[in-house]
Symmetry: C5
Subunit: 273 residues, 5 copies
């Protein structure tokens, strides 16, 4: 990690990345629970919440909406991604050049690496080009470090996740986004493995408020510098409430209880409005 | 979608794209019903009809004929395409550079993406280069978004078509050309999935006047911004008559009955001339 | 076809291309019948015959001999080709850059496309680069349009040959070189399919004078703009005699009988000299 | 080898390269024995030992830590490498461009070549680009020459290791890092095979002080110009002690006994401090 | 062949190329018979013999030694080559760019083409780039034309060797290095097939003085312009003696007997010194 590289997408050195590349990776099915989440405007509005330090979207979504939000939202340009219509060995198309992301005002780039895939070598070389171009433009670099493919039997094994975190450091990412390995000790090991590279926990599929906030708290206590979350926010009817809670846990270092109270009071306040 | 990107190939924000790349994609067999359709000049003449907002052709056809029609026809440069002599997994050759399309006066580019094909990753990266070059030249971007290949068992399933529409948005197309999914509700879902990206219905193989106009009407009412049509126009003895009807349905928002009347009165008028 | 593109390699809009890339494509075995045909100088001498509007050769042959013939011969740079030692799915190496062909004084480029081959997509993209570079240098473009490979069961089927001719138009060739489909009606259909792109008949393996001239006559009457011939010329002891006959049929539009008389009188004259 | 090419990473023409790319190649598991070795700072501190003539690390580690050590440590930029999560035929991603390595202040580049792998041709061509770029920037070139893959049944056979050393010379490396072939005679043969290219012995997995120093001594006597060592240093609780011993054997050409005494006295001194 | 292209690597239009790329292609095993041949300096010394018109070596060997011999030796930069550790279909890595070969002072380039290999197309395209870059730098071009791979059952068949020679001409080599096809008639045919491209006989594995000189004499009489020899020179204890003999046969067109006498008298003279 280069000193200061994450400044434009963090707050007090901590990150809450709202990820919204599901339309590409999973298709519209992820928006069924909360239909308004299909519309990027809705998610850009959510991203204006104080807790969100960056919004990760693909090129088309950024082109259409970022100009209206550039003062309120920090843009994390998710450069690669592929539909799940495709059934082959894990790979990801580079859909956006760093040069054009910079032109659109992006503050940082996001890049998926499937360590263990038969496309690992090719993806790592695409990452190299993107990472060095980002350095040239003074943009931060976030790696979605997800071991997958023929070589990976179990992608939630602690050793695999620590390796994923380490790949972020070794290859030159400022931030490594990894899955939560299940317990705080394993998460601490992964954070150690990443050394100076910041680790953020990947939000994953939707969980209850309490379960989710507890996991985030555990991750932060274990050394994570934040969270990258998608479905756990935009698949909620009231995403701002959960963001109030996440703000407590991540930036104010409160207990889970206090964070849950914030979630609930937001709900009440919304009802009162 | 970038604001204004479709202006040169639309009318009041709606599009009627006449597609004529069948000589490459299917071969001369598509011209058998109406032999004069083999000659591009015939189709360029048809494209001067007021209802047509753009003509989509390949490089060779544009080189030979566009100079004679550049004042009357808007050129949509169909960049990729492949013969059906080839039997492999769905793929498409990029036969035309954006730079040369621009030099020939094209207003927008057209690009096929076979989501789900084993070539999806490669095609998406070719699309990236074309899309960014088009942005650089202020040309609109139309994606033929056709899920096909090993990963796609049923390419007319509503969920698949909505995903296709969404890929248009995510990857940076101004317009996504998709198949009609069979019913208005599914079409509306696909249009929602595309969000700010315009959706145009793909015309498909030849149907009766009434059936075709009814489907187009349904698509427009469901949120489509227009139509891309080939065989349903050039495989008709009197393509202008149908274009009169399509103009009614698409740009004047009339009923199907009124549109059919326009088709028939054109026929009469032609007989009277 | 771009207006005027074939001017430097045609006469009154008609073409007689002498093709001499057999040393690469078939090896020295093609020169056994007439050993002096092994020596490119012999073939360059033949190419100075008035009937020949262009000589198609590869880079090495052009480098060695074209400087001595540049005032008398028009050079058609055959850019790609591969030995038949190789047994794989049909493909062709690009052995010559357009830039260097231009530097050596070439008037036009020649390029083989194997439609239907598993390498069709790659070859079409190589053709794109060559075609656009040729446009940039004001060089004509001739496509050897030969459907072959896994996707093509019968490459002499009329529909396949018409498709081949159409590919010439669609992809931007000024001239499409195709096999004779066996009868005049099928040839006429192929010429219609090519529309504004000129069609030249491929000479094929050696035939008798009468049979060959008759086929060429049929092709011309059906709409072809000329002939590309190799073995039927250089595998003859007296190639100039046949060229006299071809000149009659192609440029003077005589009967086959008159052409045959020209062939024979050349023979007599040669005997008298 | 180019005269003077190794000057910035050697001392009196001899090299002791501390290699620390295990986080990428093997993952955090290599740091378990001595947990502080997970932190690159610890290893940079070790690299300030007088015996170490260069530290070999990947891009991300160099970016994060080299700026703090550039006055005390010589940087050997290890350009390629791949995780062992990937199970395919031996290959290595190029993760770092020479241009950016130069920008970060690297003195030399390191590059792995898996001779015998199905990726040998591709890797050799990547090496070509890196080697020539390094020459352009006056950076030394070190090849990790490791025969592996389908073509290599036994990568410790003397003939194979001599071949590996020779590849360093033939392809233009200033230094070839090879495995110790097991006996001094075989090592001498490998050094002869490398001719003017310097040979350094690869440290391999951890051994006892005496065994390791003896092997290094044998290698030096056989003609090696030094050592590249990783685990045998950073997997020791007191790496400086062993470095004291290595300094004796490599640079002062002492006996193994004298070197062992230095290792032990360092231990005592550390205890006294 | 371009007029004058071989001037810097020939004498009176004839060539004796000393080839020394065996360390890459076969490994150190080729140097066992005469251990000093492992050291490139020894071979550079041999190359100063008047009979040698060029020395063919790889990049690393040239970098290390050519600066000391540039006044006495003409450098033929062997651009591609691959170890025989690799067991795949015949291919060869391009290890040296023409630009850098030129910078090091090379007079000509050497390039292997495996006609008939599944990599033939790719190798031919790499040759194209190298050949055109060499033209740009006024460097001669020598092709090692060796049919090999799946498509080639018998690489010493006369027809195959004549085809190999022809490929040199067709693709733009000034010199084609081919195997001796076994008898003078077949060699003459191969030389005819190459037309203006010079043919040099490949030396092959070590033979007796008489057998070797006889074969060279046969090849020269059949039309070859010289010899490319490696093992038959450097695997001899007294390579200069054989070079005396080769000089007689190749440049002075003597009988084999006279050449053998020269070989023997050199031996005597060496004994007398």
């Amino acid at each position: 990690m280069i000193p200061g590289a994450t400044d434009p997408i963090s707050r007090d050195g901590k990150l809450l990345i709202l990820a919204y590349d599901h339309g590409l990776e999973h298709g519209p099915v992820d928006f069924e629970a909360v239909p308004e989440s299909m519309n990027p405007e809705h998610v850009f509005d959510v991203a204006t919440h104080d807790a969100v330090t960056a919004l990760a979207v693909g090129k088309g979504v950024a082109e259409a909406h970022y100009p209206d939000y550039e003062d309120e939202v920090n843009l994390l340009a998710k450069l690669n991604g592929t539909s799940n219509l495709w059934m082959g060995e894990h790979d990801s198309a580079v859909n956006w050049s760093v040069e054009y992301a910079d032109e659109l005002g992006a503050d940082a780039i996001g890049f998926t690496l499937y360590g263990g895939s038969n496309h690992e070598v090719e993806m790592a070389e695409e990452f190299r080009d993107a990472q060095e171009a980002a350095r040239d433009k003074d943009m931060g670099v976030v790696m979605w470090s997800y071991p997958r493919g023929q070589g990976v039997k179990n992608d939630t094994k602690p050793g695999t996740i620590s390796y994923a975190a380490r790949l972020g450091l070794e290859l030159g990412a400022d931030v490594a986004k990894i899955k939560y390995p299940g317990d705080p000790e394993a998460m601490a090991h992964a954070c150690d493995a990443a050394a100076s590279t910041d680790v953020v926990m990947s939000g994953g599929s939707k969980a209850s408020d309490e379960a989710f906030l507890s996991t985030v708290k555990e991750a932060m206590d274990a050394g994570a510098k934040g969270l990258a979350v998608g479905r756990n926010v935009f698949q909620r009817e009231n995403p701002e409430a959960l963001l109030d809670g996440l703000e407590k846990v991540i930036f104010e270092e409160t207990s889970v209880e206090e964070a849950l109270a914030a979630v609930e009071s937001h709900g009440e306040q919304a009802t009162l409005d």
